[in-house]
């Protein structure tokens, strides 16, 4: 009998004898992976949505007066002094009126009695794609407010601010849940293996007395850790994928959730979660069995 056949037999025996506690650990690992991966999935989708929304960001600088050509060039220079932009458009009072009338469509007759210059002139600034962070937009907006003739700058700051803080909160939740769940899974596996070792103390002691090497005793427990990490992460991720499919099917179509364009985790992230789970569970096993072997 070679080493691997012997340790696989031993691992199979361990699993048969301690199936109840193994099942509990397996469920804990699955649940930990499911919860963490769920938060991570929400996080990546929120970041994705944030990126898509930021593509539509434009800052509108309302002006006190309609600038002349020379003034327009000066303002253009000043704006580009802060940073390069994707596009800068000057909207005259007449253009603003025309655009508003088009937006009103059939109801544009409500403007019939209004003077054609009642809307202020403005500058539409579309920042570069690299300049999409909330703080950068805020700084840019503050700069634009200080431009001569600027009355007010609008870019949906309230909404952006809320969304920014939401993503910040989500980042903290993902990091905290990740850390806590990693600790939970590792300790659960270590605890189960420790219980197994305590329950089979006599047998392990005997194995040492009849000449079993430390590898012979240790390897079946490491295999258990690998199996728990692998199966736990696969089941957790499969459950998450099922949940993802259910949400995609039931919440597709027009609506708020459609804004998010749900996508599942990247294959590299899935593989990383499986490997990290295997690594942590194996580490839990290793620390427990090492304590026994040192006795």
């Amino acid at each position: 009998m070679n080493f691997w056949l012997a340790v696989f037999r031993q691992a199979g025996r361990n699993l048969r004898q301690t199936w109840a506690s193994q099942l509990m650990t397996f469920l804990t690992v699955s649940l930990s992976v499911l919860i963490f991966a769920f938060f991570y999935l929400v996080y990546t989708n929120t970041i994705g949505a944030s990126d898509r929304l930021s593509e539509d960001i434009r800052l509108i600088v309302y002006l006190e007066e309609e600038p002349g050509t020379a003034m327009q060039e000066q303002l253009l220079r000043k704006i580009n002094n802060f940073d390069k932009t994707e596009e800068i458009r000057f909207i005259s009072k007449a253009d603003a009126y025309k655009r508003f009338a088009e937006q009103l469509g059939d109801d544009s007759d409500v403007l019939a009695d209004m003077p054609k210059d009642f809307l202020p002139a403005s500058i539409e600034v579309i920042p570069l794609k690299g300049l999409r962070g909330f703080n950068q937009i805020k700084l840019f907006s503050e700069y634009l407010t200080q431009l001569p003739g600027s009355e007010k700058v609008q870019y949906g700051q309230e909404w952006m601010e809320r969304f920014y803080y939401f993503t910040q909160l989500l980042t903290i939740v993902v990091l905290l849940s990740g850390t806590l769940l990693i600790l939970t899974a590792t300790f659960m596996v270590a605890y189960t293996i420790r219980l197994t070792i305590m329950g089979r103390h006599d047998e392990l002691e005997l194995l040492k007395l009849v000449g079993a090497t430390n590898s012979y005793i240790r390897t079946p427990f490491l295999l258990e850790g690998i199996l728990q990490g692998f199966m736990g992460s696969i089941i957790g991720l499969t459950a998450l994928y099922a949940l993802f499919r259910w949400i995609s099917i039931h919440f597709s179509g027009p609506g708020l959730l459609n804004l998010f364009h749900f996508t599942f985790l990247q294959p590299i992230i899935v593989i990383s979660i499986v490997f990290i789970s295997i690594g942590l569970c194996t580490l839990g096993s290793f620390t427990s069995i090492q304590k026994f072997l040192k006795i």
Partner: protein, 240 residues
């Protein structure tokens, strides 16, 4: 002679299998189990330890197989200081020492066959060879019908024989046996001793701790009597 490999050391025919020099074992707080024991057991010898309960026989056997560490003194097995061995080297040496413990140390939830096989499994023996050896040993010890019986369901006499079968299963070069016939009738005692004698004739060194004069008075063996942890006498039996 010391070699790097303890297994090789046991395979090489040495004149001395066990050497103990001024060995003592004291338990906390102040109980002396063995005091100043010096003895030599030759390779291929069948050696008997006798003495009343508490004389130190079991402690002596535990020291030889490194289950316990001496408080003082030197213990060499096959020229190897057994207390200096660790890890894989100690494991390999233990594979070549078969021990039948007084408390049997059987796995009560395993079958008789599994208990005997465990000593060979750790040496990665061929599964077919393991099955064959288990069958042969159980037959020699009249336990064939108990092959698949859970060990916890056996009588003490049967458990004792299973422990002995496990001790000799891996063809060890040194066999340590603690009270091998304590729970056995005369007929089974004879079978057990026949098995040990066969192993001894095939070259194994055997140390037996016993109360039973019927087994050490037969043959021509050295007998060490312990009293209160000290050597009281070292004699030679001259029975037939």
């Amino acid at each position: 002679m010391e070699t790097d490999n303890p297994i090789e050391a046991l395979e090489v025919p040495e004149n001395t299998m066990i050497e103990m020099i001024k060995v003592s074992r004291t338990y906390v707080p102040d109980i002396t189990a063995l005091s100043d024991i010096s003895l030599t057991v030759d390779t291929g010898e069948m050696f008997f330890l006798i003495g009343r309960s508490g004389a130190g026989k079991t402690t002596l056997l535990k020291l030889i197989c490194n289950m316990e560490v001496p408080s003082n003194g030197l213990i060499e097995v096959a020229g190897y200081n057994i207390n200096n061995l660790k890890g894989k080297r100690l494991a390999h040496l233990r594979q070549k020492i078969g021990v039948a413990y007084q408390d049997f140390k059987l796995l009560d939830d395993r079958t008789v066959a599994e208990n005997v096989a465990i000593a060979m499994e750790v040496s990665y023996k061929n599964p077919q060879a393991i099955r064959q050896t288990v069958r042969d040993l159980l037959e020699q010890l009249q336990l064939t019908d108990k092959h698949n019986t859970i060990t916890g369901e056996l009588s003490r006499g049967e458990q004792q024989r299973v422990a002995l079968a496990r001790a000799v299963a891996n063809s060890p070069r040194l066999i340590l046996v603690d009270e091998p016939t304590g729970n056995l009738d005369a007929n089974t005692t004879e079978r057990v001793m026949n098995l040990l004698n066969r192993r001894n004739k095939s070259g194994a060194t055997i140390v037996i701790a016993t109360h039973d004069p019927t087994i050490y008075q037969k043959g021509n063996h050295r007998i060490l009597e312990l009293r209160d942890g000290q050597i009281h006498s070292l004699t030679r039996s001259n029975g037939s």
